[in-house]
């Protein structure tokens, strides 16, 4: 079994589209949540979102390429290029034939769907754009990454809603660990902030009207976000041999399904995934210092996740530092797990715990150390990044200091 390390991180996020801006925003608890800016916003009740506002596709794609890519694919390609650059990786033809690319995504090319359906239903147009399907298909993002970078090995999309990014990185980890791929590019992407999609989220009645306050007694729901994060994973041997920057080592991956409620998180299922990840990593619960939680900011998730952490960690839950990045990034859905994996790797790299932003008041039902509002320097040997998706699909990764 190979040891697997993280050597490159690329992001397109609501708090900036460089690794540096992403990390400084998380550390400063500078929220990317703001007034919503989408077409036909007057049809929405929701007034806020965590949007990527500084993204100009024409800076990254010539007009012909841009025309082929929905925004969720554009995000993935730009983040993937940044990750490869960050890893100082030269993808040779031999490496390209074996390298893997796995991208998590929940909703596909919703911008293209929305545009075409608006023409069809809203404007009674007899025709829609001929490239709607290649832009919309949920594997478009990973295909575009593969085409852009010339990666020709195992390439696919993982769809597990809000755990997609974590599942994607976990599977890429397994490919590199077992030697099926010498190197992998993995992460998640999402861009579904259209009036149609947001309206459907409103109907589910889980959105916050003001902001996202994970684990705070005053929390009021989740805030939708968007963006992408991609990481380069490779064997430690290769990374050391080529003198690559190493952010963290990836030790374990755990998965589970609740087989219960389609929406509500089940603390047993979540705890099973955490324990599976610890077992896979050969790390004892008491040796974990930091958990980047799913922490959506809904009443139910944060309460159940606290219970799950106690079930998985037992008495050592008391000494855990736990934080959610969603007060800053919103809920990136298919990108969320990848954002949070990147944050966890950077926490290990910098030995700094990013805080839980917008934290106002302790909830007796959420009684762990949630690192409220202020980043903390700490010795972090092992850390965990966890995602618990709608549909009861759970994915957890365990990392250690490189």
């Amino acid at each position: 079994m190979n040891r697997v390390v993280v050597t490159g991180i690329g992001v397109v996020s609501p708090i900036g589209s460089t690794r540096e801006k992403f990390w400084s925003g998380l550390i400063a608890a500078r929220s990317g949540i703001g007034p919503i800016s989408v077409a036909s916003a007057d049809r929405l009740t929701t007034r806020i979102a965590a949007q990527v506002l500084d993204f100009d596709p024409s800076q990254h794609f010539d007009p012909k390429r841009e025309n082929l890519l929905d925004r969720f694919s554009q995000f993935a390609v730009v983040a993937a290029r940044a990750a490869v650059r960050d890893a100082e990786l030269d993808i040779t033809e031999e490496m390209a034939l074996q390298a893997a690319t796995i991208v998590g995504n929940a909703a596909g090319g919703q911008n293209s769907v929305d545009e075409s359906y608006f023409k069809l239903y809203g404007q009674n147009s007899p025709r829609v754009h001929p490239l709607t399907i290649p832009r919309w298909m949920i594997n478009a993002a990973v295909s575009q990454v593969s085409m852009d970078l010339g990666i020709k090995g195992p390439t696919y999309t993982i769809a597990s809603a809000c755990a997609s990014g974590t599942h994607a990185i976990g599977h890429a980890f397994q490919l590199v660990r077992t030697g099926q791929a010498p190197i992998a590019l993995a992460g998640g992407t999402e861009s579904c902030l259209t009036v149609g999609t947001i309206k459907c989220w409103e109907a589910l009645r889980v959105l916050s009207a003001d902001t996202c306050r994970p684990f705070s007694k005053t929390r009021s729901g989740l805030v939708l976000g968007e963006g992408a994060a991609m990481v380069v994973l490779e064997t430690r041997e290769r990374a050391v041999a080529r003198g690559a920057p190493i952010y963290a080592e990836l030790l374990g991956f755990g998965m589970s399904a609740d087989a219960g409620d389609i929406i509500a998180i089940d603390s047993d299922g979540a705890a099973r995934a955490m324990r599976a990840a610890l077992v896979d990593a050969h790390v004892n619960p008491e040796d974990v210092d930091y958990v980047n939680a799913h922490g959506t900011g809904t009443a139910l998730n944060d309460r159940s996740e606290t219970v799950a952490l106690r079930k998985a960690f037992g008495a050592s839950a008391e000494r855990l530092a736990v934080s959610s990045s969603k007060g800053v990034l919103g809920h990136g859905l298919g990108a969320a797990g990848a954002f949070e994996f990147a944050a966890t790797a950077l926490a290990l790299h910098t030995q700094t715990i990013p805080p839980t932003a917008n934290f106002e008041e302790v909830d007796p039902d959420c009684d762990l150390d949630f690192v409220p509002n202020v980043a903390r320097n700490a010795t972090i040997q092992n850390a965990m990044s966890s995602s618990f998706a709608f549909g009861g699909l759970n994915a957890v990764l365990v990392l250690s200091r490189a």
Binding site: L68, H129, L131
Partner: protein, 96 residues
């Protein structure tokens, strides 16, 4: 006449080729049009003239179509042929 200019303008924009080069016998494939370019050009023409061009992307542009609907086979392999197709479809829209 207006239609030929509009057709040339759409092709020119899509393929990034000056309209002057779009002579009647210039073949779309020789001008560099790939399959996605062709369906985008067709779409733009349909939008512009509010017509429906019976073209299937998985058939050769030289022998496309319409026979199935009982109409004449259309062929759009050259700029001139495409102009003719658009002309006929626009004409057919005018009430007699």
């Amino acid at each position: 006449m207006a239609i030929i200019d509009d057709v040339k303008s759409i092709i020119s924009k899509s393929l990034k080729i000056p309209a002057e080069r779009l002579t009647a016998d210039a073949r779309l494939d020789e001008l560099g049009a790939e399959s996605l370019d062709v369906i985008e050009i067709i779409f733009a023409l349909e939008e512009k003239f509010n017509i429906s061009i019976p073209f299937k992307a998985d058939e050769s542009p030289q022998r496309s179509l319409a026979g199935k609907n009982g109409g004449d086979e259309i062929q759009i392999s050259t700029v001139g042929a495409l102009v003719d197709v658009v002309n006929k479809l626009v004409e057919a829209k005018v009430p007699r």
